[in-house]
């Protein structure tokens, strides 16, 4: 069986290698033509693919998945279409350094069940823009909608002149096979989006990887914030696709002085505060006790479904379930990440205690991902940003739609959000085509006149101090 899988892996990579060889010879115009064709077909199928993803996974809301597909196609395309990704992409006459973009080679792209079509199209577009063949590994629960996405994009790419096998998909779906693919010597890079285990596997594979794992986004509502505005934004974000975006809000934090006002506003905007008994019931169905991580049965589910699963009665029209908690960590299961319309709620005695609470939440499985603040106090906004370990700190912005860029800010649109070294990533950036290039620097001779004009024999004189040498070094010769 293992040998058979190895043969399959070898065959896929052999095809990808040939595609890479051909792709490498494409110019910018040829490349851009392919990218445009794939964008057009992906965009045209945004509704169909959104419905398929929702039907197959049973997660999220198809109308919201349409918006995700728009982000993964139109907005991504708009952000990369004019980028130079082939040959000489820049030259600085002052430094004499020219930059040449080279493709990486076959990229293994792991697609999460929560965004199977949008993430697939996004990764396909950025891989093609950088002339890298892509091998899609879909989550088993979303393999059909993902396969359909791949088929549509591949056909469009081929008709625009792309190399054969520039887009492939792993159909096996087994974890062993994905790991085998990750470790394959012909893989140039793994673009992994998913849970902690998957990202760890990618980084342990021995191949370069950009892996994006979980978040646990704290939201601090400052006393200076416009509370109805903040609450409205949080609700629109946390209910977006039933909370399946990893940058969605997980906990709301404020000081005691505004707790009642914030709570009233959430209630006014149809959110439901769970009783202690109900919190226990929701914990049971939302969190796997052995691991402390979220249970698949609630991911991307509606409030109504969650309430039924937990056997609790909630008012009609409830948008989000809110659990007021007294602590953070394993003893408080809902203080961790749950990709569903469930929020933790904390009130602290003062500003410092509230920020400490946000720091604790941030470090509970969401290091380096995203954080959010609602405030009209610039000093506090910057203070918060410096204290939190987050690649993106969203200000007065819904974090789901804010972190993915292009909609509420000028971040690059992306469905793969770097989490820095805290999240075991190499970057905190929103991943895009430029992250999939090897940049060569051609360095023209521009001798350092200070260095060569300086009497270098002085470096060997141990009696000279750093100040004396520096003074001489910078002297006008």
């Amino acid at each position: 069986m293992a040998e058979n899988l190895k043969e399959i892996a070898d065959e896929i990579l052999e095809k990808a290698q040939l595609a890479a060889a051909e792709f490498h010879q494409f110019n910018q115009e040829q490349t851009d033509r392919i990218v445009e064709a794939v964008f057009r077909v992906g965009f045209s199928n945004r509704v169909k693919l959104a419905k398929r993803a929702q039907e197959e996974t049973g997660m999220g809301i198809w109308e919201h998945k349409v918006i995700k597909n728009v982000l993964g196609t139109q907005l991504v395309y708009e952000s990369i279409k004019n980028e130079k990704t082939v040959g000489v992409i820049s030259y600085n006459s002052q430094t004499g350094i020219a930059e040449i973009a080279q493709p990486l080679g076959p990229i293994l792209a792991v697609i999460p069940v929560t965004n199977p079509t949008s993430t697939a199209m996004f990764k396909i577009l950025i891989c093609l823009k950088s002339r890298n063949p892509i091998i899609i590994s879909s989550h088993r629960g979303a393999s059909k909608s993902c396969a359909e996405t791949v088929r549509i994009c591949y056909e469009a790419a081929l008709s625009a002149g792309a190399p054969e096998d520039c887009i492939q998909m792993i159909t096996s779906g087994s974890r062993d096979f994905t790991q085998m693919m990750m470790a394959h010597p012909k893989i140039a890079l793994i673009l992994a989006t998913g849970g902690t285990g998957l990202v760890k596997a990618a980084y342990s594979s021995g191949n370069p990887a950009i892996g994006v794992g979980p978040g646990n986004v704290p939201v601090f509502i400052d006393e200076s914030a416009d509370i109805p505005f903040a609450v409205g934004n949080i609700i629109s974000s946390k209910t977006f696709d039933n909370g399946t975006i990893c940058a969605s809000e997980q906990a709301i934090v404020m000081v005691d002085a505004i707790e009642k006002e914030v709570r009233r506003e959430f209630e006014r905007q149809n959110c439901y505060f769970l009783t202690n008994e109900e919190i226990k019931k929701v914990e049971k169905i939302a969190i796997v006790p052995e691991t402390g991580s979220m249970s698949a049965q609630v991911v991307g589910q509606s409030v109504l479904t969650i309430a039924k699963l937990a056997d609790i009665n909630i008012p009609e029209g409830t948008k989000i379930l809110i659990a007021k908690l007294d602590g953070i960590g394993k003893e408080f299961p809902l203080s961790g990440e749950v990709l569903a319309p469930i929020l933790a709620f904390y009130s602290a005695k003062d500003y410092h205690a509230a920020i400490n609470c946000c720091i604790d939440l941030n470090y509970l499985g969401g290091i380096g991902h995203s954080a959010c603040i609602y405030s009209n106090n610039e000093k506090r906004i910057m203070e918060y940003a410096e204290l939190l370990n987050a690649g993106r700190v969203l200000v007065n912005t819904p974090s789901s739609q804010g972190a993915v860029g292009a909609l509420f800010n000028q971040l690059p649109p992306s469905l793969t959000l770097g989490c820095g070294t805290g999240g075991k990533n190499i970057t905190t950036e929103n991943i895009t085509a430029k992250n999939l290039l090897n940049i060569q620097r051609v360095c023209r001779r521009k001798p350092n006149e200070m260095f060569f004009g300086f009497d270098q024999s002085k470096y060997y004189d141990e009696s000279l101090t750093a100040d004396e040498i520096t003074k001489e070094y910078y002297k006008n010769h």
């Binding site: 410092h352 920020i355 400490n356 720091i359 470090y363 203070e383 204290l387 370990n389």
Partner: protein
């Protein structure tokens, strides 16, 4: 720089620190801690709490001091409370928050 309190009912020793805990401060602090009778003569069941509400900077030597007392006190018998956010972040970033039971 540091004041001490002992709650004999709860068996809790609280050391309240104030100011900047840089290298020089810790050099000055070390003999004070070592000679403090409450700490010196503590029982095996006593818990130690470092209250650092008024501390706005911690040097590695201060963290080392904390680790030393945490080890001496044993699991669950040492904690640091009332950190300012900047100090809390420092403990978190260094990954020492669990060892030192920071709150």
């Amino acid at each position: 720089m540091v004041t001490f309190d002992y709650n004999s009912t709860e068996k809790i020793i609280t050391a309240v620190f104030a100011g900047r805990m840089d290298y020089l401060a810790v050099v000055e602090l070390t003999p004070i801690l070592e000679s403090e009778p409450i700490l010196k003569n503590r029982g095996a069941e006593d818990r130690i709490i470092f209250d650092i509400a008024e501390v706005d900077y911690i040097a590695s030597s201060f963290i080392r001091t904390c680790i030393m007392y945490a080890k001496q006190a044993g699991t669950g018998r040492f904690s640091i409370i009332n950190c300012q956010p900047f100090v809390k972040k420092t403990f978190k970033i260094s990954g020492l928050d669990e060892v030192l039971n920071i709150s």
